[in-house]
């Protein structure tokens, strides 16, 4: 390169442009770090993914032999070979239903209030800190709360409803935070456009913000649910059952109106409790059951995560600003 003295500033006696050789050396050196870091990144990823793989293979090796149809259709039994997870997965399903039915509307509504209605002042700040803080409260504490509140104070007993409510509270912060995030990601000009058309605040919310925020909201809900489905401690605290050799009444099939919700007041067990119980049994055959059940549970979360990703992808396609 030419050493043409182009800079007029006297300070730049030395041009910062290096000669070609120097520059190439410099670039080579800098690029070495790139490669180094990329290796490091892959390594870090590998640690995570290998862990996951180890977990999976471990579970699979132990559990897959147990994964036959009876495993899914049998109730628990003292004989490991006959024990199944019927009551557990049905229970999990029902509890998740309650959780979703509570957490989704309440979480979205709360988030809407905080994001769209509430004045931005210290109260909102406090609520905000409060919510992030709730996200860090150990789940067992929710169990303690739920025991006092739902089981005893509200007299809901050790029911699917109590459990659903507890988990709903547990994931509420997640739903609220992600919903707020989703709402915040909707540009202000969309709101202004809607208001500009003469929409009222509620119309803006219901016609625009919620539908457009849906991908984010759903992701949050599903992530929350995935967390809830694996929770053990709070549900044990409120008194989930371990042995339950029958299913709750079929949802919404009883005699209306009261009968419709019989199921919600039924006793139940859920997957993690079944697993927890089986792992703590002395007979190693049960440990196999636990591995199999864990495998099922992890697959349920995987399924939910996949659903979240798919939904996010599907719904986002037509929403851009």
């Amino acid at each position: 390169m030419t050493p043409s003295p182009k800079t007029t500033a006297p300070v730049a006696a030395r041009r910062s442009t290096l000669n070609a050789e120097e520059m190439r050396a410099l670039i080579r050196a800098a690029k070495r770090y790139d490669v180094l870091f990329a290796t490091l990144g892959l390594l870090a990823l590998a640690i995570g993914i290998l862990t996951l793989a180890a977990l999976f293979t471990g579970m699979a090796l132990d559990g897959i032999p147990r994964l036959n149809s009876e495993f899914f259709t049998n109730f628990p039994s003292r004989r490991a070979g006959q024990a199944g997870i019927l009551s557990a997965w049905v229970g999990s399903l029902l509890v998740m239903t309650v959780t979703a039915l509570i957490a989704v509307p309440v979480g979205i509504a709360g988030a809407i209030y905080l994001e769209e209605y509430a004045r931005k002042n210290w109260v909102t700040d406090v609520i905000e800190i409060n919510i992030t803080n709730l996200a860090g409260v150990p789940s067992i504490v929710y169990g303690l709360l739920a025991l006092g509140l739902f089981v005893y104070t509200f007299g809901l007993g050790q029911s699917i409803l109590s459990a659903g409510l507890t988990l709903a509270l547990l994931i509420l912060p997640i739903v609220i935070v992600t919903t707020r995030e989703a709402l915040r990601a909707i540009p202000q000009h969309i709101r202004e456009a809607a208001y500009g058309c003469g929409a009222s605040q509620w119309q803006v919310v219901s016609h625009h913000l919620v539908p457009y925020g849906m991908p984010g909201i759903l992701t949050g809900v599903i992530i929350g649910m995935a967390r809830a489905i694996g929770e053990t401690a709070p549900i044990i605290t409120i008194g989930a059952l371990t042995f339950i050799a029958f299913l709750p009444p079929a949802p919404f099939m009883g005699d209306p109106p009261a009968g419709l919700f019989d199921w919600a007041f039924s006793g139940f067990t859920v997957m993690p409790i079944q697993i927890f119980n089986w792992t703590s049994r002395p007979d190693p055959a049960f440990h196999q059951n636990a591995a199999a059940a864990s495998f099922v549970l992890v697959f349920m979360t995987v399924g939910m995560n996949a659903l979240a990703i798919w939904l996010r992808y599907r719904l986002r396609k037509n929403i851009k600003w």
Partner: protein, 307 residues
Amino acid sequence: QIVKIDGSSTVYPITEGIAEDFQKAKKNAVKVTVGISGTGGGFKKFCRGETDIQNASRPILAKEMEDCRAAGVEYIELPVAFDALTVVMNPRNTFLKSITVEELKKIWEPAAQGKITRWNQVNPAWPDAPIKLFGAGSDSGTFDYFTEAINGKAKSSRGDYTASEDDNVLVQGVSQDVNAIGYFGYAYYAENQSRLKALAVAEKAGKPAVLPSEASVLDGSYQPLSRPIFIYVSAKALARGEVREFADFYLKNAAKIAKEVKYVPLPAKAYSLAAEHLAKGKKGTVFGGKNEVGLKIEELLAREARM
């Protein structure tokens, strides 16, 4: 028609087996649920009248009796099996053949905390190797029982040991460490004999060291570490046919199931006595709100009979 049971996880396997068979026998006409809130958590519910039957790995305590009284819950105490707390070591351990209560105390008493850390401090015959301790969590009935039996005072124990609610965890711990010693329920030992070795316990120096086994428990020679476990049946619930039926069924089948899940059944006499109590509706506890150790079966039966 539901029979609700909750409480100890120790008793759970027996109750579960009973419930399973009972439901089958009743062709699912009666539903039985069993929870594992722990003896304490279970009693809370039981004394509020929320459960029909309580699994308990220890007798009801004064505080809980009071709660029950306050709520007007009366109960019938039914011992259903023995659990032999088993002192275990690593199978590769070569120097431990047996141990005396004395020595156990030396290891486990509060004063040992931080001091007794090597085997030769307990018994000079033993090598100069670190002691690795594993024991029940301090919130469990097992812990209470063991401390009372060994250290003479419930809940009086050194604190620097690995505790776990989950006995499998302890099994794991002991099986991994040559210098380990630990204690937990017999069933865990029984299921893991390949990985653990039970340690014969001598009640006193000079007395013969006894290994835990059905026979040694039944004949009362495994002392002081065998303890009875119970169910408490709510008197009010007993009025319901299915609960009574279940309780009867329980006592009838307890021996079989207990064996099956590796507990030590009570002598047949004990079950018939219990059945009698049940039939008569004899309420209350024979323990006066305290845990007791070293209770032999005969004594228990005697007390029961006195009720």
